[in-house]
Symmetry: C2
Subunit: 363 residues, 2 copies
């Protein structure tokens, strides 16, 4: 890194699909100091030597990556992936046999997923479906029953399982609403530096220093989790990665603990899952929604996906399901290029890259 002798870096975009021309125009606008070249290849095909050897930065997809052969990597400063995780490329020689810096798009999912989360909380708490259906029928109704159960988020307690970039942006918005945030992580975060967000942060969002939670909690055993779920939480948001340890982490016991500790005059706890469907015991979830232990659930992920048409989860009481779309938005790819922008500048100054993959740690 830090090669100031390269005046005009060559950024090679290598995808298996063509973006619209306006996309490349926007990229060129954002990198007036770089030469942008673009290849459309078969999914996963290696990069032609001629192109790879000229490239200083390669940008490709994480799930169908187009990567250079090892002998063509002489000029490469770093390779950037559009995905947050690298599980599809982890065994590629570039990762196993070289020290070429590799960067991910981790950190860019906070804003859209936090907005999806907030949308679902508010649609539930303010009974959006009532006014939406009334509007379709041209009904102006001020039924007294409507107010019943409507509460805002001032003074509400939000428990966030997994305090990464997504949980942090949810925390930021929750605090703005007047709520208090409780963070739960697998490992302890006792020091200011351990609480910092190590990834790329979309400017103006998130919780860079980890100062928003009113308290931090941790553990990998049931006792720690249950203590956290006993805090009187109004919301639990699942932002954990799916691992053997987190599979079915939340089930009948946990929902019972949540409900038993709810605050007087508050609605029963509301569950949000933007992680993976299998983090929840879905049958137990359906039972807790039916019994009222949980006042509702917002699920962007299910087990399995797609959720079969005849699955009982679709019609469980007060559940809002969306088809794994919470991260989507027109900004996604441009925001990923913001990381390339930051790292191009860092690379020139000889500084460490953000979102750099740590070989041997698996993320």
């Amino acid at each position: 890194m830090g090669d100031a002798s390269l005046p005009k870096p060559n950024i090679l975009l290598a995808f298996h699909l063509e973006f619209p021309a306006s996309f490349y125009d926007e990229i060129r606008r954002r990198f007036p100091d770089a030469e942008i070249t673009s290849l459309v290849l078969e999914p996963g095909a290696p990069l032609p030597s001629e192109s790879a050897r000229k490239a200083s930065i390669i940008v490709t997809l994480g799930h169908l990556p187009c990567l250079p052969n090892l002998e063509d990597t002489g000029h490469i400063k770093f390779i950037h992936f559009f995905s947050a995780g690298l599980d599809k490329v982890i065994d590629h020689p570039i990762l196993t046999d070289t020290e070429i810096p590799v960067t991910t798009s981790s950190g860019i999912h906070g804003p859209p997923i936090a907005e999806w989360t907030l949308l679902n909380w508010l649609a539930a708490s303010r009974k959006f479906s009532v006014t939406y259906e009334d509007q379709k029928k041209h009904i102006w109704s001020r039924d007294l029953e409507y107010t019943k159960g409507i509460q805002d988020h001032v003074g509400k307690k939000i428990g966030i399982l997994g305090y990464g970039s997504i949980g942090r942006q949810i925390a930021r918005v929750a605090v703005a609403l007047g709520a208090t945030v409780y963070a739960f992580t697998a490992s302890p975060k006792p020091t200011p530096s351990s609480r910092r967000d190590p990834h790329y942060i979309v400017p103006g969002t998130g919780d860079p220093d980890g100062t928003l939670p009113i308290s931090w909690h941790h553990g990998i055993d049931k006792a720690s989790l249950h203590a956290f779920l006993s805090l009187g939480l109004d919301h639990v948001v699942v932002c954990l990665p799916l691992t053997p340890q987190t599979t079915h982490l939340l089930g009948a016991e946990e929902f019972a603990v949540l409900a038993a500790n709810k605050q007087p005059n508050h609605r029963n706890p509301y569950l949000t899952n933007i992680s993976r469907g299998r983090v929840l015991d879905q049958d137990a979830l359906i039972a807790s929604l039916k019994s009222g232990e949980l006042s509702g659930a917002a699920l962007d992920v299910t087990d399995p996906e797609p959720l079969p048409e005849d699955h009982p989860l679709w019609d469980a009481p007060n559940v809002q399901i969306s088809p794994h779309v919470s991260a989507l938005g027109e900004e996604y790819f441009f925001r990923s290029f913001d990381i390339v922008r930051v790292n191009l500048d860092r690379s020139r100054r000889g500084e460490p890259l953000v979102n750099s993959y740590k070989r041997g740690r698996g993320y």
Copy 2:
């Protein structure tokens, strides 16, 4: 004020309807140091002398107030109204012929109305109706068209017309989303003290010092308004009171100015009205929604109310209408009592009351 010789104040609740017993229990819990008495009277009936003469604080409704006769007001420290405005009581002798402090519920509408606003923004920007309708049909759809037009609020510009307690809480949440806020007021606010929120503020919400807007704008003429609407706003939120000056303040010209100044690659401006229906020229609004000048509108108020069943506004493109419910919530009355709590303590310490009505200024 400041009579420390009254050890146990008598708070008299005088309404024309009975609240549930749990309501009075909660009030007693919040005022362990006060005697709470309660009367249910004919709407607008004067308070019986016996009760009024014992009262140190009277709490009543703004639109159907039960008030004491002047000769019975000897012990009264202040009278609190459940409403934000006092237009229904402004000619009562208590207001015209006495100096008894009178307090309003101004300031408590910020949290629910900001949540209503955010709900509508996000339901529109994240196409909630698509997933909601798909769920009803058990359809798990990942249509590529879905992403088209979905944008989050990072870097978006929010223009707020009328920067009171509601606009301030909307600003607070908008900034948390990563947006920037522009404030517009009738009179100039050049100094830090002029930018402060003078009303009661729900703890943990709002913008007490007026530091959130990236810039402040003002004026009562069209040129000032049009300059503000030319800032490249993504959202315009109408939080102005309805006055002769604000009647039809926003119409065809203003929507055209907004659309003409939109930022490249952003959706067209979105209009939110939580003020009164007549602040907008509703026919012009429908035309601008149809033409696409405005990408959508969230309206909690219409002209007239109720909106007639056959009114074309119901089916205008991308409009979301609710029946003047944005302030509703189970917290409303308790939050109003928080003002009584604050003022009881201030009164005992001889400090000025919050939300005190300024006689002669009309608000």
